[in-house]
């Protein structure tokens, strides 16, 4: 194993910015894990699929609207916003369906958490395979060949048309800071702050915090727990949609099983930051993204995932509750 420190040091700023961009995407997905955990003490393992459907929604919208070349200017902006909204809508929809179909019946019957976990894993496979087999599915419902071709080719990589000119915004020394990375980081942080403020300040947000701290007492205050749970899934879904859009901007490729690794990483980010803690998701995501990027620069990119999970184990050894600790309800600044 060669340690490539000279590459690491000469590219340090660029590696850090790229790492932050990855981390921002992890953080947005991690929000969904951490919020659902805060309210239900349940790991929503199907959340990775919520993200995956978002990537396809962004992809389809872009393919349908972009036409031949890159339109540029105002039209590009409109396409970007459309793709973002499609991804958010799709992810939110999948999250709400999950809540309704895979969780609510179990919660109503007071099923053990383990049962809900199995249900989540099952739902995750169903959703991924549905996407993977969608050329078959479109065949069953009798779509014509063009459309089949369009949504088909399920198990291979689907590439997004490149519509953002990934120009260098500015340089630090030899290192270039690129447009897409900056968009991703800024957008992710803006969304995280918005969710954080919503949960802290709004009436419904207070309902979420109250339910996370003590569901029975929250019910005594007049909080409708079903609504709170729905809202939690909705927020998580919307954020996964934003993550999906940003992912498509940066990585530009998606696949039916793209959610798996991203989901595991985002879950790692949530645990790293302190599961149940909104700000923890942000911190955990960014730390994970940066350290993993540094690690893969030094050790080689095949070590990327090893670095990520070693980091998780090391941090949990010393801080079992994660970097920021505390749960959603108890989290205060």
């Amino acid at each position: 194993m060669d340690l490539n420190f000279s590459f690491f040091f000469s590219n340090f700023p660029e590696l850090t910015v790229t790492g932050l961009a990855f981390g921002a995407i992890y953080a947005l997905i991690a929000l969904g894990y951490t919020m659902v955990y805060g309210v239900l003490q349940l790991i929503n393992f199907a959340h990775s699929e919520v993200f995956m459907y978002g990537t396809f929604a962004a992809l389809w919208f872009t393919m349908a609207t972009v036409g031949g070349g890159n339109p540029g200017g105002f039209q590009t902006l409109a396409i970007l916003i459309g793709a973002l909204l499609s991804a958010m809508a799709m992810s939110a929809l999948i999250a709400l369906i999950l809540e309704r179909v895979a969780y609510r019946p179990l919660i109503k019957r007071n099923a053990p958490r383990l049962i809900a976990l199995i249900s989540a894993i099952g739902a995750s496979f169903v959703l991924a395979e549905l996407m993977g087999l969608r050329d078959r599915v479109t065949g069953w419902v009798g779509l014509d060949d063009d459309l089949r071709d369009y949504v088909g080719r399920a198990r291979i990589n689907n590439s997004m048309p490149n519509i953002v000119d990934n120009k260098v915004l500015f340089s630090i020394g030899d290192a270039d800071v690129r447009m897409v990375d900056v968009i991703v980081i800024v957008a992710a942080i803006v969304m995280m702050v918005a969710v954080d403020q919503f949960v802290r300040r709004s009436r419904l947000g207070r309902g979420i915090r109250a339910t996370a701290q003590d569901p029975e007492t929250a019910a005594l205050m007049g909080v409708n727990s079903t609504r709170v749970i729905q809202l939690t899934f909705l927020l998580g879904g919307l954020m996964a949609g934003v993550a999906a859009f940003l992912y498509m901007l940066k990585i530009e490729v998606t696949k039916f099983d793209v959610g798996f690794l991203l989901g595991v990483k985002a879950f790692t980010a949530a645990v790293l930051g302190g599961i149940g803690n909104l700000r923890g998701a942000l911190v955990g995501g960014l730390v994970l993204g940066v350290v993993e990027n540094w690690g893969s620069a030094i050790l080689g990119s095949e070590w990327r995932h090893v670095v990520a999970f070693v980091l998780l184990v090391v941090i949990l050894l010393f801080r079992p509750t994660g970097i920021l600790g505390e749960s959603l309800g108890k989290a205060r600044t």
Partner: protein, 239 residues
């Protein structure tokens, strides 16, 4: 009757926690349920709030059958509870906790809301001094005050108080009961569940004694306080 309970049976797991109890809470009064630990007092209150499933019997509020409606609708109808022990939100400030009490209200920017907040702070000056303190860091007595104050923020017709004196110093107990009487005189009907029989019998218009899930005695507070058997069992000989 503001609240009418008839033939109520509640199971806790496989145990019959409440067996066929019936009682009423007349509007404008203080009614108390007293009994030892495990007699079923807390289960009764949780059932009235909708947190426990009813096996048999009915609960009526203002004549309407509420036996199977969810907890949040009961709060909207005007039933509010101060739960047992430290039933506050530990990670929220005093103000945020009081705000949670008013969760079902739509007039949170109005002067009526401000007045209710002032009323709670007048009843409990200690809370006024600690508005921005995180509730989990306050003393047991202060948390108890907060729980009662929070229950009042819903502007309830009926307030259910679960062991408001538990774990408090004697001087503070006196104070809490004075405040309960005051709340009642301001027009709120009170259902009070207590182990402190001496104080609750003194304050209550009507009292019921709960033993192993059944009501074994009922009467006015004064009647029961003067009863020899009640004295021996619950009042330690003399009041």
């Amino acid at each position: 009757m503001l609240l009418e309970v008839e033939g109520l049976c509640v199971n806790y797991g496989h145990i019959e926690a409440i067996r066929d109890i019936s009682f009423g809470v007349p509007e404008g009064t203080i009614t108390t349920l007293i009994g030892a630990n495990g007699a079923g007092k807390t289960t009764t209150l949780k059932t009235l709030s909708g947190l426990r499933k009813v096996r048999a019997g009915t609960v009526k509020f203002e004549g309407r059958d509420i036996t199977s409606i969810p907890p949040y609708e009961r709060v909207e109808m005007g039933i509010s509870q101060s739960p047992e022990g430290r039933g506050i939100f530990p990670g929220m400030t005093v103000t945020e906790n009081l705000d949670m009490g008013a969760y079902v209200r739509r007039d949170r920017k109005s002067t009526a809301y401000e007045q209710d907040l002032e009323r709670v702070f007048t009843l409990f000056p200690r809370l006024a001094e600690r508005r921005q303190q995180v509730a989990g860091t306050m003393s047991g007595g202060e948390q108890q005050m907060l729980a009662i104050g929070r229950a009042l923020m819903a502007r309830p017709r009926l307030v259910l108080l679960d062991e408001p004196s538990m774990g408090l110093a004697p001087k503070l107990i006196q104070q809490i009961f004075d405040i309960i009487t005051e709340i009642n005189q301001q027009g709120t009907t009170v259902l009070l569940v207590e182990q402190n029989a001496a104080q609750s019998l003194k304050r209550a218009h009507t009292a019921h004694i709960l033993e192993t899930g059944q009501i074994v005695r009922s009467g006015t507070g004064a009647e029961l306080a003067g009863d020899e058997a009640v004295k021996a069992a619950y009042l330690g000989g003399d009041v």
